[in-house]
């Protein structure tokens, strides 16, 4: 809590120096953050374009642009490559990255913990375990199994994992150590659970589990994009409506309660949303770590805790990170596609460390 106040103080310092009134200074500060958001959206669009331009077919930039400008017009080679193959992959990277960025941001907010993310606190592992369980024991009918039961089980266990972390946090008074240790323990538990299921599964089931958990952007299709989009369209407005409450929550439970917030209900609702976002992401691209942890931190360093800016920027930066990973995965060795998780770490870790070391001494 004191950290937050200190951060507010650092924001307020220039007011005295510049001689601006508090309201003018606030407006200027808001404008700066808004500009940052707009700039970030611009960078994401550039990244999307680069992703669309990159690929084994020797399409020129002009050809790609020309094809993009006639989405319904073409049926030739360029149209298939740009609209049917590259576009779904590029958009899936953006959408899943946004989902993971938002999920990480809200986990860090409601658990008041900088290490919280769907991956580090076992939510992704929970989703993987749920999916593996369904694949081993529940997929008698292939259609039901592959399209309904597996994602449902993934969501159920992601939810269970979130709720358990939340429960641990409540029992132990929300201390950082107990949350992190509880989350890490859950991560190991569910990972061990997946390993156990692999051990007892048949060869076919084993491969199905591996196939499902690792996922890939390469299988992106328009129907899959619709599902991820629908998930984001449902969850983001709910989070946006709670923006003030979530901002207040970062002041600490006592203050949030004193401001009239029903903290428990808010946490439960947000956990449900985080689980849904995580399970959706895991369903389509596998357990991608790192994005949900790093994107919110970069967003926080850039625009602070105000959820009106922090939430969209976490989504945008998550999208940007995965989109860049998609590009890098195609460029590390031209002609091949690297696994997404490798590329994500390659670009994200150096950038994140440079941000930590480069000036902003306090970001949590």
């Amino acid at each position: 809590m004191s950290d937050t106040l200190q951060r507010d103080d650092t924001i307020a310092t220039p007011i005295a120096i510049t001689g601006l009134s508090p309201s003018d200074s606030y407006r200027r500060h808001s404008r700066r953050r808004l500009l940052f958001l707009v700039a970030a959206i611009g960078v994401v669009l550039v990244s999307l374009m680069v992703d669309l331009i990159t690929g084994p077919a020797s399409l020129s930039i002009a050809e790609v642009f020309h094809t993009l400008l006639s989405p319904w017009g073409g049926s030739g080679r360029e149209h298939v490559i740009v609209w049917m193959l590259r576009m779904p992959t590029a958009l899936l990277a953006l959408l899943v990255g946004a989902a993971l960025g938002v999920a990480g941001a809200e986990m860090q907010t409601i658990l008041n913990n900088p290490l919280a993310s769907p991956y580090t606190l076992g939510v992704s592992s929970g989703a993987c375990f749920g999916a593996a369980l369904a694949l081993v024991f529940g997929t008698g009918a292939s259609l039901v199994g592959s399209t309904v039961l597996v994602p449902l089980a993934a969501f159920g266990f992601a939810m269970l994992s979130s709720a358990t972390v939340y429960g641990i946090a409540r029992v132990k008074g929300g201390s950082t150590e107990s949350i992190v240790l509880g989350g890490v323990a859950l991560h190991f538990l569910f990972s061990a659970g997946v390993a156990f299921l692999k051990f007892v599964s048949s060869e076919d089931q084993l491969a199905a589990i591996v196939f499902w958990i690792f996922g890939s952007l390469q299988g992106a299709t328009w129907p899959k994009l619709m599902l991820v989009s629908a998930c984001l369209l449902v969850t983001l407005p709910v989070l946006a409506l709670d923006a003030w409450k979530l901002t207040a929550l970062r002041l600490g439970d006592d203050r949030a309660n004193s401001l009239g917030l029903d903290v428990r209900t808010l946490r439960r609702r947000i956990l449900l949303i985080v689980s849904l976002l995580t399970a959706t992401a895991v369903c389509f691209v596998g357990a991608v770590g790192f994005v949900g942890l790093v994107a919110p931190h970069i967003a926080r360093m850039s625009v602070g805790e105000d959820q009106r800016y922090f939430l969209p920027l976490s989504a945008i930066l998550g999208a940007l990170l995965l989109s860049c990973a998609s590009i890098v995965s195609k460029c590390i060795i031209p002609g091949t596609v690297f696994p997404l998780g490798v590329a994500t770490a390659f670009i994200g870790v150096p950038f994140f460390i440079s941000l930590i070391l480069g000036g902003r001494s306090r970001f949590w």
Binding site: G55, M84, F211, Q218, G335
Partner: protein, 202 residues
Amino acid sequence: MTFPLGFFDVDCREVNEERNGFTIRPRAAPLAPRLERLYALARERSFPLVFCSCLGGRLLEEGDIPEVLYIPDKPERREWEQQISSHREFYLQKRRRGDPETNIALQAFDVLNTNANAARLFKLLDVEEWIVFGNGFNACVNSGARGLLKAGQRVCLLKDVTVMGAAKYGGTEESRLRVIDELESLDVRTTTFDPFMASLTP
């Protein structure tokens, strides 16, 4: 060098134990008569035949069969480009990286994602339409056809010269139909063996 047709055989044959010729892969055995006719057609008409392995079978080693041009997966290896004109059969190197789990994690089944020279080979061969068939339909053939499309090639799938992958890779009849639907939506022409052969008869 321009060809009206080229054949892309995904894992229907493997190098024999003596490493001096090929045998049909056990899973592709039901396709053997059709495969033999396609191979014969490729030889008679000098159509290029590109082939690769999937996740099983014996891998061809460089130099095993001189008539087959071995296309290495390393991007710095480009010497093979000088030998294209003297060959009609090409093998895309595919590495297996350990156990099945690792192979799936690293997408080793997708030859166009793992062989850095594959797209280059297809471009240099300049074939108007690639006839795709093979073993491991939903994983290896599917990714092969998609890889050709991504590389800007035209693709025709011989639907009845394919064998589903093992059930462990999602190889069900339902997934077969779904993959065919998806490929058709990507502008892949689909046909079957008899009409295809008839279309080539003068």
